[in-house]
């Protein structure tokens, strides 16, 4: 099962992230002063950019995991499970990025949504990786699923700069300045900068904890699948009249009785 070191480091990271997030919230909501331009709204800066950074970090990890699985020399199911775990956490954080961005946008720009390049790219990222997760739920044997989702994860990642470039041109070639003009962005200094830095650290730590947890679940799921599969094979082998048996095992965990290709 889970090694002791893994479990303890996961717990330690969990406790540390809890403390860090609490500190960020307290500093962000009460200790730091309101901004000259943005007023109280500036407090959202301690959560929104860090959450967005974690989303991109998570997709980066997904791509690295996918590459490591696809490269034959480093091929190991672990990489694929890591990629999947990171993608799921990434989708959660992308959702949060969109939500907090929208909440910020409403009072700052007067609209919930604007077709800004960054926003649109993030929205597309959200859908891209939802698709990746949907593809993972397609029944297949572990290797087949790993290959397919690694490729999908990698292609999705390669698509991001193309999407971004197209949206940037879309918004700039046919329209003047974007909403994110520099005069609106607050000047950061002193304790505000410290709080922002703390925000980045604490949410990254939350990501690490979630990734470790999600990865552990994926490993356990894989083990259950393998154990049940071994057991079924063993049972089959013991039956003397396995040829005459028509009933196939009911697949309540995975579709390992699916015909695999080649």
């Amino acid at each position: 099962m889970e090694s002791r070191g893994y479990r303890w480091s996961r717990r330690a990271i969990g406790i540390v992230s809890l403390l860090l997030v609490a500190a960020t919230v307290i500093l962000g909501l009460w200790i730091t002063p309101p901004d000259v331009v943005q007023g109280q709204l500036v407090r959202l800066i301690y959560v929104h950019p860090p959450v967005a950074w974690v989303a991109y970090l998570a997709y980066g990890v997904t791509s690295i995991g996918s590459i490591l699985y696809l490269w034959k020399r480093t091929r190991n199911l672990k990489w694929d499970l890591l990629a999947a775990a990171s993608a799921e956490v990434g989708v959660v954080f992308t959702g949060l990025t969109l939500i907090t961005g929208s909440i910020w946008g409403r009072p700052a720009w007067g609209v919930w949504w604007t077709w800004d390049a960054r926003l649109t790219t993030t929205a597309l990222l959200f859908v891209l990786y939802l698709g990746y997760l949907a593809l993972r739920r397609v029944p297949a044997d572990s290797h087949q699923r790993a290959v397919r989702s690694s490729i999908a994860g990698l292609i999705a990642f390669i698509d991001v700069p193309i999407v971004h470039q197209s949206v940037v041109w879309w918004r700039t070639l046919h329209q003047g300045a974007t909403v994110l003009n520099p005069s609106l962005s607050p000047k950061i200094h002193g304790e505000m900068a410290m709080t922002l830095l703390l925000g980045f650290i604490s949410f990254t730590s939350v990501y690490a904890w979630m990734l470790m947890h999600r990865y552990q679940i994926a490993i356990l799921e894989q083990k259950v699948l393998d154990a049940e599969l071994d057991q079924l094979i063993e049972e089959r082998r013991r039956e003397p009249d396995s040829e005459s048996r028509q009933a196939r095992p009911t697949n309540d965990v995975g579709n390992f009785d699916q015909p695999s290709k080649v």
Binding site: G131, H143, I158, V262
Partner: protein
């Protein structure tokens, strides 16, 4: 690889010629989409003329989902694709063949669809060279990404729902770039220097390469 690609393409086109799925199902569907758009928007000529390029490419995008799904389904039904691999057909060749076959079908569909757009929406058409070039690369991009994703989603019982979810966000830059390129073409400022055309070329090249590299892993994986 190229010989295999041509073989697969002619085989698929022959199947298409006999079954006429594109002609009987996908083309009428695309026309329905054009009509439905007019319902959803406004029939005043100004509106439809302005959005004609976007609607055209949306209709093409929707149709391409059916086309690529069909192209891959030909092989996954009865595990015919495994047969091809056993015969030693190059997987990259299968990919290119599928892309060529879907490309031919979609390009023909686009010609008919353009006639429909001209008749129904009445936009002022011009800049033929840019139009043709951007349509060419946009269609290649759609086909390459579409065939790759269709193969990725194949084997799933929910593939008809999964494929659009996977494919549409990926090809969204194609929709955007092709629409803008056509808008530029229709406006007086039409030249092959158009940045949107460059984006379409990049997309087509990237996805052709990705498909050719990964197709064998998807098939054999």
């Amino acid at each position: 690889m190229w010989r295999d690609a041509l073989l697969i393409a002619t085989k698929d086109l022959k199947i298409e010629f006999r079954s006429k799925v594109t002609l009987n199902l996908i083309l009428p569907f695309a026309f329905v989409v054009l009509i439905i758009f007019a319902f959803a928007l406004d029939t005043s000529p100004g509106t439809l003329q302005k959005v004609a390029p976007g609607l055209f490419w949306l209709a093409v995008l929707f149709s391409s989902i059916f086309s690529v799904d069909r192209a891959v389904a030909i092989e996954s039904d009865d595990n015919a694709g495994d047969g091809l691999l056993v015969y030693g057909v190059d997987p990259g060749g299968i990919f290119l063949g599928k892309v060529i076959s879907v490309f031919v079908q979609l390009f023909l569909l686009e010609i008919f669809l353009l006639l429909g757009v001209v008749v129904l929406y009445g936009p002022k058409i011009g800049g033929w060279l840019l139009m043709l070039a951007s349509a060419l690369f946009a269609t290649i991009g759609l086909c390459a990404a579409g065939v790759t994703y269709s193969q990725l989603a194949s084997g799933s019982r929910a593939k008809q729902t999964l494929l659009p979810l996977l494919l549409v966000p990926v090809v969204s830059p194609v929709l955007l770039a092709a629409t803008k390129a056509w808008q530029d073409a229709f406006a007086a400022a039409s030249s092959l220097e158009d940045p949107w055309l460059r984006l379409l070329i990049v997309f087509a090249v990237v996805y052709l390469a990705l498909g050719a590299i990964f197709y064998s892993s998807i098939l054999e994986g």
